[in-house]
Symmetry: C2
Subunit: 279 residues, 2 copies
């Protein structure tokens, strides 16, 4: 059976990889974003602004069986009021419209920032306690969707993304910065202490998991989309240097650790693994 899947935020970092996965799997994909980009090709593109969606947004997206919803404006400023003042209400209105129009299934990119300052291995059962406006707004969107979906037949998979890395990432990200520095021949790369433990996935793997979640029948509810393996940022950087044969030496301790993240946290991948194995 050929599935028909639409993707918002399709021109973004993860979105481009999700589109590629869908096309590689022979799935009928519709990509949507505000403006077309050369990074997305090989599928139908629908220009759409979530802040001002047309009344027939569901039909314009080709009445998809699944929407993979990745769009979210205002990053990487995790503490902007934009997230709850503009983004939350507009995202809620957009998705509510699609649900009311008959969307059967919604897969949304959540975030580990919903957990807030909780350390160690985080399972989906942990109560959310976001400390950033970004994490709060994603958490609030999920709750609002759960409230309205209790009265509809639309199913929800809420995939809490942990950390991603890979080609096409925003210029401010660690991976983009060190690869740019290595490519321009910098001898050293100033960075944080690097001892913080995180949960990292290559973006292509995260995209593949998103597509697997979309292809399952029904909704999974809340799932961590993560490796389940804590890794220090220092080890990750050293892994990249070896893998890409970069001639650069990291200088640790140049920048402080961010205060909106715990020093050590990673996702439990048990639910994700059980769900994808057992369906």
């Amino acid at each position: 059976m050929k599935s028909h899947i639409a993707v918002t935020g399709a021109t973004g970092f993860l979105g481009r990889h999700v589109i590629k996965c869908l096309l590689d799997a022979g799935i009928d994909a519709v990509a949507t974003a505000r403006t077309r980009s050369a990074t997305v090709s090989g599928c139908r593109f629908v220009s759409l602004d979530i802040a001002n969606p047309p009344l027939d947004a569901f039909e314009r997206l080709g009445s998809p069986e699944v929407l993979i919803h990745l769009a979210w404006d205002g990053l990487p400023n995790y503490r902007s009021h934009h997230h709850f003042e503009q983004e939350l209400p507009r995202q809620y209105r957009f998705l509510k419209g699609l649900i009311e129009a008959g969307l059967p299934k919604l897969v949304v990119a959540g975030t580990c920032f919903e957990y807030g300052l909780q350390s160690g291995e985080l399972s989906e059962q942990a109560p959310t306690n976001p400390c950033t406006t970004y994490g709060f707004s994603k958490d609030a969107l999920r709750r609002q969707l759960e409230y309205i979906m209790a009265e509809t037949s639309t199913s929800l998979t809420w995939a809490r993304l942990f950390y991603l890395w890979g080609e096409g990432q925003a210029p401010g990200s660690l991976y983009a910065q060190i690869s740019a520095a290595a490519n321009r021949g910098d001898a050293r790369f100033p960075m944080s202490g690097g001892e913080q433990l995180r949960d990292y996935l290559p973006v292509s793997q995260a995209a593949d998991l998103m597509v697997q979640l979309a292809l399952q029948s029904g909704g999974a509810g809340v799932l961590n989309l993560c490796s389940g393996q804590p890794v220090s940022v220092r080890s990750l950087v050293e892994h990249w240097i070896v893998e890409y044969d970069w001639n650069i030496i990291p200088t640790f301790g140049c920048y402080p650790y961010p205060d909106y993240e715990p020093m050590a946290f990673w996702g439990s991948a048990s639910r994700l693994i059980n769900y994808l194995i057992q369906g």
Copy 2:
């Protein structure tokens, strides 16, 4: 020093008692609500709709030193989408406007429903995990206010109300129902099993505590406004029957327990008591 305090929701159940406490204490009070009511007298009344406040709302309220904010529409339906679709954004806009206009201190009525289905004694340190749209929306309003107040000099006291009872309560409340039944001479009063443990305050005592919180200098952050004493609903009803000399017999077990409340939960009053003693 004569304080100047404005009160929203002044014609409501708690509001009327708060106004009375303020006037008894010789405080210069301004009462506000959409429409004037005979239940509020002896102070200045300002008609104001929170959904459409005037640009000079702060000045119209007499540029108060403290706002005691009790208004909240859409109760007692704890699960209506109204709470996050309409009430949350309009309350946020209204209060943000007052904060930007220079309001020095805000005392807001929160709710024990912010905690969600957590049993036993609840302290303010417990992470919130609301299961009703009402609890979620109050919790979200508090978080949004905290985010914007981090950048202003306005101070916040967020008083989580547990259960109240007393004259003037909504007709659907337990106290209003049994007192009406007793007054009309009913022999029996059908009710729930009555074994659930709750935290009850007489409304006059809750109003007095709200005024004490308003008169403290600075903000207390989140506080439970509660007795700290678990009491079964059965015992409370039996206490009322004795206190008011009603000739009515409760019939327990006629109605199920609500599924949006834990069977047994009450507030820890330690923070409240310490704060009011130590200032």
